[in-house]
């Protein structure tokens, strides 16, 4: 069970606004997060991963406290080991497809399996600049899965994929999520595209 109760001040053109989230996510659940631009969807994912610190709040995973502002507890991103798929992919320009996965894990069998799932097995020596947008996006997802996280955070993970590739990848990921017992939070601008995959949703809106 993941329990999140946070408050974060956001800067906006129209002044300051607050991102407030108080929600629990069951183990193994897949939740889509949506809301207007600038509402703080990406910020919420980064707070959970430990990349941003909120003004107030508590995050607990199975009774382990990741964050408690009042008692100044804040585990580093390295200790939280959350799988994170960034909106801009954040691929490393100096590494090939295989090196990305080898940077994350030493498990060669797991790497081979991930490459098959992502249909990148013939592109292992390619660097990101020689991959298409869809291939880069799949590599970003595979890299996040390589560490076998318990929690996977995905920021607009399917936006660069065509309809067919999206359907195939979502089917593959659904099996993989269940196998790994993953809890998944997916930020999307198009909630309908994830109807078959997600079993819950969180709509984010800000407060002034």
């Amino acid at each position: 069970m993941i329990s999140i109760n946070i408050e974060k001040k956001l800067k906006a053109y129209s002044g300051q606004q607050w991102l407030k989230v108080n929600r629990e996510f069951a183990d193994g659940s897949i939740t889509k997060i949506h809301g207007p631009s600038g509402a703080g969807k990406t910020t919420l994912l980064k707070i959970i991963a430990g990349l941003i610190t909120p003004e107030k709040g508590i995050i607990k995973i199975d009774d382990i406290t990741w964050l408690d502002i009042s008692t100044k507890i804040s585990l580093s991103p390295q200790k939280r080991m959350v799988g994170f798929v960034f909106q801009n992919y954040a691929l490393f320009p100096n590494m090939t497809v295989r090196e990305h996965l080898e940077y994350a894990t030493k498990d060669e069998e797991w790497i081979d399996r991930l490459l098959t799932i992502g249909k990148l097995e013939t592109l292992t020596t390619h660097k990101p600049e020689h991959l298409s947008g869809g291939q880069q996006q799949r590599l970003a997802i595979l890299r996040a899965l390589a560490i076998k996280p318990k929690l996977l955070l995905m920021d607009e993970p399917f936006s660069a994929l065509d309809h067919e590739m999206k359907r195939v990848l979502i089917d593959e990921l659904e099996v993989l999520f269940a196998e790994l017992g993953l809890t998944v939070l997916i930020v999307t601008h198009n909630p309908q595209e994830l109807d078959g995959l997600c079993d819950g949703e969180l709509e984010i809106d800000t407060e002034r």
Binding site: A49, F86, A90, P93, Y103, A104
Partner: protein, 223 residues
């Protein structure tokens, strides 16, 4: 024709470049992360040699490290270290004087990398050090090379600071730029011309090297 000043200059430039690389890599990473008033002060101090007359810097270094008083006296009496009129003094002065040439390109390149690169590495469980060595550093290679060549070339041409703290001791502090000045003073235009031509040739090759390296680099996908 005495080539010792040329070898001394090349030795000084090599040592200065290596030392500055070791100093500036962690310092540039620290400076590139966020801004604070303290960091602004540090950056200003590092940048000062760019705008300060070299003789002013040399004068203060001479005062600070003079074995007669203060820091220089303490270093001399405690560690038997003398920076005035010695080769190590030239190295110290060159490190301070050339620091902005190493720091500028490295810091600027690190700031231009998307912050999500380091963040992605952290979420994979990698430490700050691993992230710096495996992700950030390999992606600023052209800037790193430019910084090293600029520092090396700039150290080759130092005159004011080197003369103030090192003087003109043959085989110890008499580097090529001082040898040119000294030869002209002694009306030995042939020696001055030879030293100048060698310095010109080395610097030209280095600058050409930087242009060729940067031209052949594949365009970064981050651009």
């Amino acid at each position: 024709m005495d080539l010792t000043p040329i070898w001394l200059t090349l030795r000084l430039a090599s040592i200065t470049t290596i030392l500055l690389l070791l100093i500036c890599l962690p310092l540039a990473r620290w400076l590139s992360k966020g801004r604070s008033f303290f960091k602004i002060i540090i950056e200003a101090i590092i940048t000062m040699p760019l705008v300060l007359p070299p003789s002013v810097l040399g004068f203060y270094l001479l005062l600070a490290f003079s074995p007669q008083h203060g820091l220089g006296k303490w270093l001399y009496e405690t560690f038997d270290l003398q920076f005035v009129f010695s080769f190590q003094g030239l190295v110290l002065a060159s490190v301070i004087y050339s620091m902005p040439f190493m720091m500028g390109p490295i810091k600027s390149a690190l700031q231009q990398l998307p912050s999500s690169l380091a963040q992605a590495s952290y979420t994979l469980g990698k430490s700050e050090r691993q992230t710096f060595l495996r992700v950030l550093l390999p992606n600023i290679k052209p800037s790193l090379f430019t910084a090293m060549v600029l520092t090396f070339a700039h150290t080759l041409g130092e005159f004011g600071v080197v003369l103030m703290i090192g003087g003109n001791i043959p085989g110890i502090t008499r580097v090529a730029s001082i040898a040119v000045y000294d030869s002209v003073e002694n009306m030995d235009y042939s020696a001055a011309n030879t030293y100048s031509l060698i310095l010109f040739f080395i610097t030209f090759v280095l600058v050409i090297g930087v242009f060729i390296f940067n031209k052949t680099q594949v365009k970064s996908p981050l651009e």
